[in-house]
């Protein structure tokens, strides 16, 4: 499937997977501190395991650790 992660088109060799699995697959740094936006909606961490990522989804990984607002 083809998804967009932080503005970049990304090919994933699976039909679908959970958000938690995507964090592992993408080797996301500091996963314990990342916030996730899926198609314009911010997810609670409790939803990471149950939320399914599908073709054409738009995902943003965001940190509050950096310098921005």
């Amino acid at each position: 499937m083809k998804i967009v992660i932080n503005g970049k088109e990304t090919l994933i060799e699976k039909e679908q997977l959970s958000m938690r699995d995507l964090l592992v697959l993408q080797n996301v740094k500091m996963p314990e501190a990342v916030s996730v936006e899926l198609n314009g909606e911010f997810l609670n961490r409790s939803e990471f395991a149950s939320k399914t990522v599908k073709d054409n989804d738009v995902i943003e990984f965001l940190y509050f650790m950096g310098g921005g607002k």
Binding site: N6, M30, N44, L62, Y63, F64, M65, G66, G67
Partner: protein, 409 residues
């Protein structure tokens, strides 16, 4: 990882390519990026990384990960001192016109911060007595933003009823903030006992050795911050980290109270032996309290572990049958206290606690100098009082030094 020592030693991610066993000190003000796009991503929060050590630093982050793990929290912010930790929490959770409720037996520095800084910004402070937590309910109104207490009041050495505090706080949806400097995560499991934000002056037992200044703030994850008055940006973007994101982005990185990488490293070094040291501090304080009870010039020994102490049961319940490393004694008056301090040969007269060395201080003439008499009394401070921080020396040597200072010519 489950054991306290294992977590203290191994928690946190070390990504240094040289793979050292001990975390390196990243003693650098700034960090370079290979291209402007990558740097923009970090600034915007779309990538994780370090830019500038006022904002974050790999050594400081490792300390934050370790303390957060020890507290079983959802994240931590390490700051330049314990006072910074309290200030960041206060600036994050209060605005002008707000009110807070705090225990009255506070460390003098905390009380001064509340009185001299936050009153100036029109934050009203109500003080309650930890022996009467029911007082809190009468103080709560729609402007109340937090309840603050120390896990062991310094120097009154009172221990709150955390069940009661949490019950009141939950009922009114107000966060419970606890300064656990004296108990450390080794004695007190803040999350389990319903604390929402736990603070430490890591200067004391966490770093040990009296080598550095530092502070840490941990969100235990107990409190639902969704309805709290944070700036909208953090609330929208980071639903699970509302407090941490707001504290870090709106306050911490703007007022510049970052912990230096070297001080963070000293704290990390201290964590390796925190449990071992705390056992010894607590044991030495217990032995010392017992010995001093038999010295006739000592009118009173206050140690939560003493059989007749009213906080003994709370210590057994909350601190796993330990009572901390502090005790206070009363002599006849200020003159006798000063005479004793003057005669000490090994025990040091110093304004700190949690050092490897046993430290003593006369609080009324130092930390509480200039405080009104009624405030001193509420904090358990009087002219005849001495506070002792039991060090790691052999207990017999501490006792002998104090004995010769009290009885010696």
């Amino acid at each position: 990882m489950k054991g306290f020592n294992t977590i203290a030693i191994h928690a946190g991610q070390s990504t240094d390519p040289a793979m050292p066993t001990m975390a390196p000190v990243y003693q650098s003000a700034a960090f370079t990026w290979e291209n402007p796009e990558a740097m923009e991503d970090v600034f915007s929060g779309r990538s994780y990384g370090h830019l500038y050590s006022r904002i974050s630093n790999p050594t400081v982050t490792l300390l934050e990960q370790k303390i957060s793990s020890l507290e079983n929290g959802i994240g931590a912010i390490a700051v330049s001192s314990g006072m910074s930790a309290i200030a960041v929490v206060m600036f994050t959770l209060t605005e002008a016109g707000d009110e807070i409720i705090s225990s009255n037996a506070l460390f003098g520095g905390t009380r001064t911060l509340f009185q001299n800084v936050f009153k100036k910004y029109n934050v009203k402070i109500h003080y309650y007595d930890n022996d009467h937590p029911e007082e809190i309910e009468k103080m709560i109104n729609e402007k109340t933003r937090l309840i603050f207490t120390e896990t062991i009041g310094n120097p009154r050495l009172d221990i709150p009823d955390f069940e009661k505090l949490a019950q009141i706080a939950r009922k009114k949806n107000i966060p419970l903030i606890a300064d656990s400097t004296i108990s450390t995560p080794f004695l007190f499991q803040a999350k389990k006992h319903h604390v929402d934000i736990v603070l430490h002056s890591s200067t004391k037992y966490i770093s040990g050795s009296g080598s550095t200044i530092g502070g840490v703030i941990v969100d235990t994850g107990n409190f639902n911050w969704q309805n709290f008055h944070f700036q909208k940006t953090a609330a929208k973007v980071h639903p699970d980290f509302l407090f941490l994101a707001s504290a870090r982005k709106n306050i911490f990185q703007n007022i510049g109270c970052a912990l230096s990488p070297f001080n963070a490293w000293l704290n990390i070094l201290g964590l390796d032996t925190l449990a071992l040291r705390m056992e010894k501090h607590c044991k030495n304080a217990e032995i010392l309290a017992q010995a001093l009870t038999d010295f006739s010039p000592v009118k009173e020994v206050n140690f939560p572990g003493n059989k007749n102490n009213k906080y003994r049961e709370a210590g057994i319940k909350y601190f796993n049958n330990r009572f901390g490393g502090l005790l206070t004694i009363k002599l006849s008056g200020k003159k006798e206290c000063f005479n004793m301090i003057r005669k000490l040969k090994m025990v040091k007269n110093a304004a700190n606690i949690g050092d490897s060395r046993t430290l003593i201080i006369h609080p009324a003439s130092t930390i509480y100098y200039g405080f009104p008499e009624d405030e001193k009394l509420r904090c358990g401070v009087s002219d005849d009082l001495l506070r002792i921080s039991a060090g790691l020396e052999d207990a017999e040597d501490i006792i002998n030094d104090i004995k010769q200072a009290i009885f010696g010519g």
